[in-house]
């Protein structure tokens, strides 16, 4: 599914908050159609990397390219290609599911008639068509996260960035989310997802990266890994980081 050309590329990417260096000269390439699981302990820079790729924060030094466009110089062109799902749902609780999607469709300049059709199709896809006119504040955490995915896919982005999307989800909601992510990947989207769930990462991703000490501590195709093998690698990489 993945082709050879990198859709996402970082070159010597560094991000520091005052004296704290979160990412240090990170070189990374993600090919079109890959599903990359980004692992690492808290503070290893997973969320920061995703925010950098989304253009939500600027690098301290180095370069980021998404689809050939450079961030932050050509961030507007990149934003149209990116959908993001976070552990925060990025939705308005006092609007209905449909109103939320209509609002975001307007921000992406999708014509009203097309927006309506796309919004209803996405709600159908995430299993919320019957709750289209319900206020988001009446939704469970799992339903909100499904709606969040519908929002992120509304403008048909090439790249889906997911920042710990399983946070707060129960077993059923997590399985539903698995299905939606597999579907998005099957549609040809490139996915980069940060998570702490090693077994799940080995199961649904096509490639696994472990961030450690501001760089890539481990990088391998997920197909070659079982959950246990990945857990062993994770322990090795993160304990190496602690001992240094």
């Amino acid at each position: 599914m993945a082709d050879a050309s990198p859709l996402i590329e970082t070159r010597a990417l560094t991000k520091a908050y005052d004296l704290l260096v979160v990412l240090r000269k990170l070189d990374l390439q993600v090919r079109r159609g890959e599903f990359v699981a980004l692992l690492g302990p808290n503070g290893s820079g997973k969320s920061t990397l995703l925010r950098l790729l989304a253009g939500l924060t600027k690098p301290t030094s180095g370069a980021i390219f998404v689809g050939g466009w450079e961030i932050p110089r050509e961030a507007a062109a990149v934003r149209a290609q990116i959908g993001m799902v976070s552990h925060k749902v990025l939705l308005y609780e006092n609007l209905t599911a449909l109103e939320n999607l209509r609002f975001f469709a307007r921000l992406y300049a999708i014509p009203p008639a097309e927006a309506e059709a796309r919004a209803r199709a996405r709600l159908e896809q995430v299993g919320l068509a019957r709750r289209a006119d319900s206020l988001v504040r009446t939704f469970s955490r799992g339903m909100q996260q499904r709606l969040s995915i519908a929002r992120a896919l509304l403008h048909n982005p090439d790249v889906l960035l997911l920042d710990e999307p399983y946070t707060g989800l129960d077993q059923d909601a997590s399985l539903t989310l698995d299905g939606l992510l597999r579907q998005a990947h099957a549609e040809g989207r490139t996915i980069v997802m940060s998570t702490h769930q090693l077994e799940r990462a080995a199961e649904i991703a096509s490639r696994v990266l472990i961030l450690s000490r501001g760089g890539v501590g481990y990088d391998a195709p997920a197909a070659a890994l079982s959950g246990l093998a990945l857990a062993a690698e994770y322990t090795r990489v993160t304990s190496l980081a602690v001992s240094r």
């Binding site: 989304a54 993001m84 990025l90 308005y92 109103e99």
Partner: protein
């Protein structure tokens, strides 16, 4: 390609108005605070007519200033806490569209509270505040508060002590707006001739243009991590 600027602003304003019409969280808390404030002022200041004429401009604008701070804090905190500010910034829209969209919503909500206050103050202080020039000054003053407040609330909402911090940073910056609005309102209610006080609304217009330009230029930096 960015979404057209005005279309993005209109979408954000429409979203804020729709959410507020449904929940009434912002305007009701601002209006309740304002109502309690003017009641306390009216009981605390047992003044004769002349003294009331001198004091009522201050009462109106102190109440509007603090009510606007309540609204600004809640308006931006709602965006930040749910991550919606990020969701808007992810869209291909100019950063300034977020500023002008939030500004327009904050202006409408604060103006609505000001418009509720005018007839209430008229009754409580037995002075007619529902006058065309008072309405003009109210709109100009509220615009000034909303411009400065939207920018500063975007900054302070990222801090832990946001509710305490906003008035501390906003009131000194908004002082020229407060001063101009109080002076103009007091002069109008005292029946002073137009040429004696018209400079104050004109100063408000100039201050608003300056603040609007500065805030527009600074918003991109403020919104960054």
């Amino acid at each position: 390609m960015n979404t057209p600027f005005l279309a993005a602003v209109a979408a954000i304003v429409a979203k804020d108005l729709r959410a507020e019409l449904r929940s009434r969280e912002l305007v009701s808390s601002m209006a309740l605070f304002a109502l309690l404030s003017i009641l306390i002022f009216s009981f605390a200041l047992e003044l004769n007519r002349l003294a009331r004429q001198e004091a009522i401009g201050g009462v109106l604008w102190v109440t509007v200033a603090f009510a606007s701070i309540i609204g600004l804090n809640r308006s931006l905190a709602g965006e930040r806490d749910q991550g919606n500010l990020d969701a808007m910034l992810l869209a291909p829209i100019a950063r300034s569209a977020v500023f002008f969209g939030k500004l327009a919503g904050n202006f409408v909500f604060t103006l609505a509270v000001g418009l509720i206050l005018l007839p209430l103050l008229t009754v409580l202080f037995n002075l007619n505040l529902v006058q065309p020039w008072v309405l003009v000054v109210l709109a100009l003053g509220v615009l000034g508060f909303s411009v400065v407040g939207t920018l500063l609330a975007t900054m302070t909402v990222q801090t832990r002590a946001r509710e305490a911090l906003l008035p501390i940073v906003m009131l000194p910056v908004a002082l020229p707006v407060l001063l101009g609005a109080v002076r103009a309102t007091t002069a109008i209610l005292n029946g002073a001739p137009l040429e004696d006080w018209i400079a104050w609304p004109q100063i408000l217009v100039v201050v608003n243009v300056i603040y609007l330009t500065l805030c527009y230029l600074l918003f991109d930096y403020v919104i960054e991590d």
